[in-house]
């Protein structure tokens, strides 16, 4: 038997089943929590952190990613607060460092909603815009679509980027999954071979 768990999200009671995440429970309740790296049909990844929410724990506030945190009995979650709003604003401003000023889609909406100054950090760092926040949705969706992947991550930390593996590009089945899930408009066109640099060029330092 699946256990039912009762919790409160933004002062509204909701019944969830064990193993559900806060994000799923909130959705059931009609409370929207923003996400960038989340896609319902994929395993939670927990990389963008924009879904951060807050609850009280041992007298202090604890901040967790709603997409990964499993519901607990009696939990009282706040999805909006000055603290959460500030975290989301800062995360959007941080994400804009690589995305660039020309943001579109979901990121644009979030930037407006949270009053993010997208050039605030970007003006300090001054790097070429990649239009990518490395949410990994395209890679994860590709793996799922073809049980392999024509694209993947290379590099670590700030040198991390997504590249195409030339020897595997033949398996690209033009499913357009990667185009559909991209939250920043990085993948602009449908068709074979998503527009990423070749892994050879990345490793050789040409890209």
């Amino acid at each position: 038997m699946v256990k039912t768990i009762t919790l409160r999200i933004d002062d509204k009671e909701v019944e969830a089943t064990e193993g559900m995440t806060i994000l799923e429970a909130a959705k059931k309740l009609g409370v929207e929590i923003p996400t960038l790296c989340h896609y319902e049909e994929l395993e939670p990844y927990g990389a963008c952190r924009i879904c951060s929410v807050e609850f009280e724990r041992r007298g202090g506030s604890r901040i967790v990613a709603a997409c990964c945190y499993p519901v607990e009995e009696g939990l009282k979650v706040r999805t909006r607060s000055p603290k959460i709003d500030k975290i989301r604003k800062t995360i959007i401003e941080l994400a804009a460092v690589t995305v660039g000023e020309d943001i579109a889609g979901k990121m644009r909406e979030l930037a407006d909603e949270y009053n993010a100054d997208i050039s605030r950090f970007r003006s300090k760092v001054q790097i070429e815009s990649t239009k990518c926040i490395l949410c990994g949705l395209c890679v994860r969706r590709c793996v799922e679509a073809i049980w392999d992947s024509a694209i993947g991550f290379v590099g670590r930390g700030v040198t991390r980027q997504i590249a195409i593996f030339p020897e595997k590009s033949a398996i690209c089945s033009v499913c357009n999954y990667c185009y559909v899930v991209c939250p920043t408009g990085r993948i602009t066109s449908t068709g074979p071979n998503p527009p990423f640099p070749s892994v050879d060029d990345v490793l050789a330092g040409r890209k």
Binding site: P44, C48, R49, K86, I87, T90, I91, R156, G157, V158
Partner: protein, 639 residues
């Protein structure tokens, strides 16, 4: 050496222990040479070879035993040689010293005075370790055996009651009793977090999925830390024994030891230890006839700092990229391949056999109420006695730094100590009397781990930048707050150190640091801002000076510092002039020197080589104009 025989009962291992001891209690002198990484780097292998060759020459090979041991901790004084049974400790031994040591200490039972430790303050010589201040104030429950054990010989460990804790656990205790004993002992995670060990164990024990795993984490990546490394190199069996006991307690039959491959000697020694334990039947099927089976695999890590994070480490063991994953469900329940995986630091595991053997009361009698046992630090930075230190929990920082560590190098003033690696906070002078344990250290914004001491010449803004840059290189880049936060922090800190910082930059640093602390995916990200946050908290005036006065009070930030030769002190010796790689120093023999500020690259060589203290660093003040051409040095009378 007798042929290895599979031990199949507690009695057989006890008999073996008695046989080993009987063979050794003959009064035969033992020359114990530390061949750990630090000593070898300073020439211990050549010393060891010299002893072997000299004994051969004197035909004393059978009369004297040579033992190759692990780290004694006082790496500052390496190579270290100890002569037993009299326990004569020689420091900074060179191959040339070997004949004298043999003819005096072995043949005549005399002491080679010049090789004994000399107290820099009193000038007194000390023969035994306990007489040396560095050791006098320590309590070495874990490290003490290092000087008595050849890590490549399991017999050495067995002779010192090794694997007796395992026998006790397997034959006299139930798994629950083992967990209860660890709980009563109040053992907490030595990796830095201080999480109650028993709770982790119990969580894994109660988890229903099978199989379960136990893991020893020896992925120590902090610059300046070498605690886990030294322990793994010097006493691998203590970790192995702890791991087997842990496996028994939680119901796991498979263990992993994750060592980074750069720790070559540690990998070698633990791999050999596993083989020897298997040969004796202390690992494998039906250990000592108890019915409990356990196997251990060494997993060599590629050395990424982030792989020390438990979920990243487990992902690496699975064969995937060593990146952290969300662990709101603890790895103790869902770890390697989604199975219960109980991970502890090597120091935690090494404490387990002692707790089982000596009891929880003994363990709790050491340390503080909330943190029992000892704390192991590697002492590094601007301190006289660098090395590996073990003190009871609750020892004050002042005692660790001044009594054990011998104070600040060059008589300089203490400024801060960073505990817990690159993501540990800076602890300022006002907390020198802090009694170091898990909770006290956390209260001031840091965590347990290696200690790096900083003196008055360290700029706390620059130091924060150094650690941010280290973590910037090491961040896996998966989550936005850590990856982009470090990038922005690094850039902004750099701007401030260059004297170009503004109020807005300060606000950026605070906003980013707080977001990283609150919202990052793993502990690398949430702790990455600790140096920045504690630097801001305890040393805000230094930040203000960089910002407002464009001045670096420690005179460490290059862009804000200028070099200047005091004409009243310069002796026109030509040394700095010749050493300057930028040819920025003007002057000649018998004419005081001066620095052409246009050419100076601020490398600091002149400052280092001047014997007359005439090269000065200036920050935030104008450089005086050059001395009149042809000015002759002012020489002291009789000089």
């Amino acid at each position: 050496m007798e042929a290895v025989k599979l031990l199949s009962s507690p009695k057989e291992i006890e008999n073996l222990r008695q046989r080993i001891r009987a063979k050794r209690n003959t009064g035969k002198p033992v020359i114990s040479v530390c061949v750990s990484t630090g000593c070898v780097a300073l020439g211990a292998s050549r010393v060891l070879d010299a002893f072997k060759a000299e004994l051969e020459k004197r035909e004393q090979k059978d009369k004297v035993e040579i033992k190759q041991t692990g780290c004694l901790g006082f790496c500052e004084q390496a190579p270290i040689v100890t002569i037993y049974p009299d326990e004569i400790c020689y420091f900074k031994v060179r191959p040339d010293d070997v004949p004298e040591i043999l003819s005096k200490s072995i043949d005549k039972k005399q002491v080679v005075k010049r090789l004994l430790y000399k107290d820099p303050v009193t000038g007194r010589r000390a023969q035994r370790l306990k007489e040396i201040p560095f050791y006098k104030y320590q309590l070495r429950t874990l490290l003490e055996c290092n000087s008595k054990i050849d890590p490549k010989k399991i017999e050495d460990y067995i002779a010192l009651d090794g694997y007796d804790g395992l026998v006790k656990a397997l034959f006299k205790m139930t798994p629950q009793q083992v967990i209860d004993e660890v709980k009563d002992a109040n053992l907490r995670g030595r990796g830095g977090g201080g999480f109650p060990t028993w709770l982790k164990w119990e969580t894994s024990r109660k988890a229903t999925e099978e199989p379960k795993y136990v893991i020893a984490n020896c992925s120590e990546g902090d610059p300046g830390s070498f605690m886990d490394r030294s322990l793994m190199e010097a006493n691998p069996h203590s970790i192995l024994e702890g791991l087997i006991i842990g496996g028994y307690a939680i119901g796991s039959h498979e263990g992993y030891i994750y060592v980074k491959d750069e720790y070559g000697l540690a990998v070698e020694n633990i791999s050999k230890a596993i083989r020897q334990a298997e040969e004796y039947g202390l690992l494998g099927e039906n250990i000592l006839g108890s019915g409990f089976s356990f196997k251990v695999t060494v997993h060599k890590g590629a050395g990424a700092f982030v792989s020390g994070e438990s979920s990243a480490l487990m992902t690496a063991i699975e064969g995937n990229i060593g990146e952290p994953r969300p662990k709101y469900i603890h790895t103790a329940v869902k770890g390697i391949r989604g199975r219960p995986s109980c991970l502890n630091n090597v120091k935690t595991w090494a404490n387990v056999p002692l707790i089982i053997l000596k009891g929880s009361d003994w363990f709790r009698s050491i340390g503080t109420k909330c943190s029992s046992g000892t704390a192991i630090f590697s002492l590094a930075g601007k301190i006289n006695n660098t090395g590996l230190v073990e003190v009871p929990m609750g020892t004050t920082l002042r005692d660790v730094i001044y009594k054990v560590g011998g104070g600040i190098r060059g008589g300089k003033r203490f400024k801060a100590v960073q505990i817990g690696g690159p993501s540990g906070g800076f602890i300022p002078e006002q907390y020198l009397d802090l009694q170091v344990d898990f909770d006290e250290v956390a209260n001031v914004g840091s965590m347990m781990g290696g200690a790096v001491v900083m003196d008055e010449d360290t700029c706390m803004v620059d130091a924060a930048g150094y650690f941010v840059d280290f973590l910037l290189d090491e961040s896996c880049g998966k989550c936005i707050p850590c990856r982009e936060g470090l990038r922005v922090l690094s850039k902004t800190l750099n701007t401030i150190c260059e004297g170009e910082g503004t109020r807005e930059d300060m606000q950026i640093i605070e906003d980013v640091a707080e977001t990283m602390r609150d919202a990052s995916l793993c502990a690398l990200g949430t702790n990455a801002a600790n140096p920045v946050l504690t630097s801001l908290k305890y040393f805000r005036d230094e930040w203000e000076q960089h910002l407002k006065e464009k001045r670096c009070p420690a005179k460490a930030c290059k862009a804000l510092t200028k070099y200047y030769i005091d004409p009243k002190k310069c002796q026109a010796c030509l040394i700095c002039l010749r050493e300057c790689p930028a040819e920025a120093i003007q002057g000649e023999k018998d004419q005081v020197h001066w620095i052409d500020q246009e050419r100076c690259t601020k490398c600091g060589v002149c400052y280092e080589v001047c014997s007359f203290d005439s090269v000065k660093k200036l920050s935030g003040e104008p450089v005086p104009s050059p001395p009149p051409k042809g000015m002759r040095p002012i020489r002291k009378r009789g000089g």
